[in-house]
Structures are given as structure tokens and as C-alpha cells.
């Protein structure tokens, strides 16, 4: 892949270009799938790891801190493999039937550390997106710093109902997060912040 093509893909990712992201997704899914399925994972793990790696690249692009010392594809595969290895290591209940090759050289140690730090974030986002539309709307407004009064005005609910709904949604989200096996493993063996 030429550097011009890579630049286009990176620009597409940061701009949220659906065509470019879909093409990248299709071109690289099989490789990631093969790796994870061969190393104790399932299709849901493939989806999680693939998307979490892309989110990580997106965030690095947004922060203008993405430094590529290899091709984008190699970097991306390195991120996916490190995310998956982290999860396997954390979840000792998973049976590792074979030694997983170490590809740490594909990405710099600082990025490996960054991947570990981001693990909790992925869990929070994943479960937030599972909430109902009304819950998401209220919580999004809350996280943007809006007051209960403002949220009630925007959503059209009474202030009392908004407070109750906000509590129910937030509690339900925390419970989902706490039940997530990745979160439980992180909680038991927290990474350095």
C-alpha cells in the first residue's frame, strides 16, 4: 500500500468517512478473525477487538499523536494482537492451548502501555451503546454538563421524571459494566494509570 493510499485511509478514519472505513474493515477483518479464532477467541471477541483497535487509532489521530514506524496495516494488526493478548492474560479462565507469538516489535512499547490503559474505556462505551435511546439521550446531556432542568427542557420530560430516569439509566449502565468479564479482570488486576 502506498503512503498516499495510507494517508487517504487515515484521513478517512479521522473524518468518519463510511466508505473508507468499510473498505478498511473488509480488507482486514479476515486476518484479525483468523488470529483471534486460532487463539481461544470467538466471533464476538473478533468484533470487539477489531473495533476497539480502530477506536484507538481514531483517538490517536484526533489527538495528532499517531506515529507510524511501519505500514498502517502492520500497526493495526499489532494493536489488535496486543489488545487480544492483554485480554487473554487478564482472563485466566480462558484456556490458551498454544503459545501466542509475540509481535510486540510491531508497535512501540508506549503504544502497548496505552492499549492497556484504554481497556476500561472500551467496556464503558460498549455498554453505553446498549442502552435505550432515551437513556442515552439523558446521560449524554448529563455528561455534557447540562443541569437536570436543562435536560428536562430538552427531552420534554418533567424534572422529577428526568432525575428518576437518569438514576435508573446510570445504575443500569454501572451494573452492566460491572458484570463485564473484561471489567472484572481489570478491576481485580488494575493497570497503572
Amino acid at each position: 500500500m502506498s503512503s498516499t493510499e495510507e494517508r487517504k485511509i487515515l484521513e478517512g478514519i479521522v473524518a468518519g468517512d463510511e466508505v473508507i472505513i468499510t473498505t478498511f474493515y473488509k480488507q482486514n477483518l479476515q486476518y484479525v478473525r483468523q488470529y483471534i479464532l486460532q487463539n481461544s477467541g470467538n466471533e464476538a471477541d473478533v468484533e470487539d477487538v477489531f473495533q476497539d483497535a480502530l477506536v484507538l487509532i481514531y483517538q490517536k489521530l484526533k489527538a495528532d499523536s499517531l506515529e507510524l514506524h511501519s505500514s498502517l496495516r502492520t500497526y493495526f494488526y499489532g494493536v489488535c494482537k496486543n489488545i487480544w493478548r492483554n485480554r487473554l492474560r487478564k482472563n485466566k479462565k480462558m484456556v490458551i492451548t498454544e503459545e501466542i507469538p509475540d509481535d510486540a516489535e510491531s508497535i512501540p512499547p508506549a503504544v502497548i502501555e496505552y492499549i492497556a490503559q484504554k481497556e476500561q474505556e472500551h467496556v464503558y462505551r460498549k455498554h453505553f451503546l446498549k442502552l435505550s435511546d432515551s437513556c442515552r439521550e439523558i446521560l449524554q446531556l448529563l455528561f455534557q454538563g447540562k443541569s437536570m432542568k436543562d435536560i428536562a427542557t430538552i427531552t420534554g420530560y418533567s424534572e422529577g421524571y428526568t432525575r428518576k430516569k437518569k438514576f435508573d439509566c446510570k445504575r443500569s449502565l454501572i451494573q452492566m459494566i460491572e458484570k463485564d468479564p473484561i471489567y472484572q479482570e481489570l478491576y481485580l488486576t488494575p493497570e497503572k494509570k
Binding site: Q30, Q34, Y58, G78, E98, D103, Y124, L129, R163
Partner: protein
């Protein structure tokens, strides 16, 4: 710690610096000695920080949508193969009605079905990351050629590669290259050479089944697929689907 609306309000007030002075002092005092409260505050802080980033949330949501679309397309591809099968059944009826070349039709139908299935199920075995430290330059070059689909160069390089039989991943690359060059019998030799005790055995069997499919030998494909299903590994689901299609 029991979660109540009051505690949530306090935590939110603390995180957004909107607690009145007296309540803030009382809250900080409780926080200093109550570990459960400390943990709860951290969960809320994380939620506010992570989920307050709307751009990343939107991006994540977009990825989920794209993933769903891709899955639907993959399903559709397999269903289309079934439709092809139905199409050929209809075509068969017409040919029989007109009484022309029944045998020729049967062979043609069978070949088309197996070829369609092969097209639907075959995906080249993915190449391992070529930046691995212990990979020689020669192998890195081969992997690059394989990834870029320059299969004839891969064949030239690997046919003369010393001790190839000890490197099953390379054998899989060679077998896949043969398959892509229309040299199915040579591909079969490579896939058959991967023994049952090897970690790549199931992968070898999967590509072996596809090689026979490409050669329009479903009777040879079927028992291999049954063995893959019994093996109960990562190719089981695909093998079940393909077997079902073949037996239609």
C-alpha cells in the same frame, strides 16, 4: 453500598464542583474513609470522562453499524449461493422438458454448483505479520508476494525452500498459491502433508476440502468436512454450512 438517587446526585455534584461548601466538606470527609464510596466515585468519574467524548462514541457507533452491514453481506453471499442452486434446479427442469443433453446438463450443473460454493467459501489463508523478528529477509519477501497475490513467485521461492515440511505455515502459503494458480493437485499434496498432531491440521483440512471442491469432487469434500465438524475447532461452523449447501 446501596445505590440511591441521593448518592448519585452527591457524586455528580462533587465531580462537577457544584456541591455547596458544607456538603462538599462532609462528602470529602466520608470519601476519605469509605473505600466503597471511593470506588463508586471512580466509576462515575470514568463514565463522565469516557462517555462525555461524543466524537469517539459516534465513531464507535459507526463501526458497529458497519460491522452489522458486513455481516449481513456475508450472510447474503451464502444465501445467494443457495439461490444459484435453486436457479440451476429450475434450469434443469427446462432442459429435461426439452429433452436435450440431460447428462451434459447434470455435469455442468454440478460443476457450477461446486464452483459457486468454492467462490463463496474460499478466502486465502491470511499471511502472518511480516515484521516478526525471527523472520528471514527471504521469507519476508515471500510473505509480501503472497499478500500481494504474486502467487507464481511464491511457488518458485517455496518449492525450493529447504525443510519446508517443518514449516507448516509456509506449506499453507504454498498450497494456497497453487490453488490460486489452478494447480489443485499440488495444493492437495501440501495440505495432506499436515499431520493430525500439528496445530495447523484443521486449517490444512479446510483448504483440502476446498481443493476437492474446486476439482468438482464433492464426494471427497464431504468426509473431510465431516471430520472438521468432529474436530470441533474454529472451522466447524463454516464446515457445517458448506456441508449443508453441498447436500442440497
Amino acid at each position: 453500598m446501596e445505590r440511591t438517587p441521593e448518592i448519585f446526585e452527591k457524586i455528580e455534584g462533587y465531580l462537577t464542583n457544584t456541591l455547596p461548601q458544607e456538603e462538599l466538606i462532609a462528602f470529602e470527609k466520608a470519601l476519605a474513609t469509605n473505600q466503597e464510596l471511593q470506588e463508586e466515585v471512580e466509576k462515575h468519574r470514568m463514565m463522565h470522562n469516557v462517555l462525555g467524548d461524543q466524537d469517539t462514541l459516534d465513531f464507535k457507533e459507526k463501526l458497529a453499524r458497519i460491522s452489522t452491514t458486513i455481516k449481513e453481506e456475508e450472510e447474503e453471499k451464502i444465501v445467494t449461493t443457495s439461490s444459484f442452486s435453486l436457479y440451476w434446479k429450475v434450469a434443469a427442469s427446462i432442459v429435461i422438458v426439452f429433452g436435450a443433453g440431460t447428462l451434459y446438463w447434470y455435469i455442468s450443473k454440478s460443476q457450477n454448483k461446486t464452483q459457486n460454493l468454492y467462490g463463496s467459501y474460499y478466502q486465502a489463508f491470511p499471511a502472518e505479520d511480516n515484521t516478526r523478528g525471527n523472520t528471514t529477509n527471504e521469507i519476508q519477501k515471500v510473505i509480501k508476494q503472497y499478500t500481494n497475490g504474486v502467487y507464481d513467485s511464491v511457488v518458485i521461492a517455496l518449492e525450493n525452500y529447504p525443510n519446508l515440511e517443518t514449516q507448516k505455515r509456509l506449506q499453507l502459503y504454498l498450497g494456497n498459491s497453487y490453488l490460486n494458480l489452478g494447480q489443485e493437485k499440488k495444493a492437495i499434496n501440501q495440505f495432506t502433508a499436515i499431520s493430525e498432531t500439528d496445530r495447523y491440521y484443521e486449517i490444512g483440512q479446510w483448504y483440502l476440502s476446498l481443493s476437492y471442491l474446486k476439482l468438482n469432487k464433492p464426494k471427497k469434500t464431504i468426509p473431510i468436512l465431516e471430520e472438521i465438524i468432529a474436530y470441533n475447532g474454529v472451522y466447524k461452523a463454516k464446515a457445517i454450512k458448506l456441508l449443508k449447501e453441498l447436500k442440497k
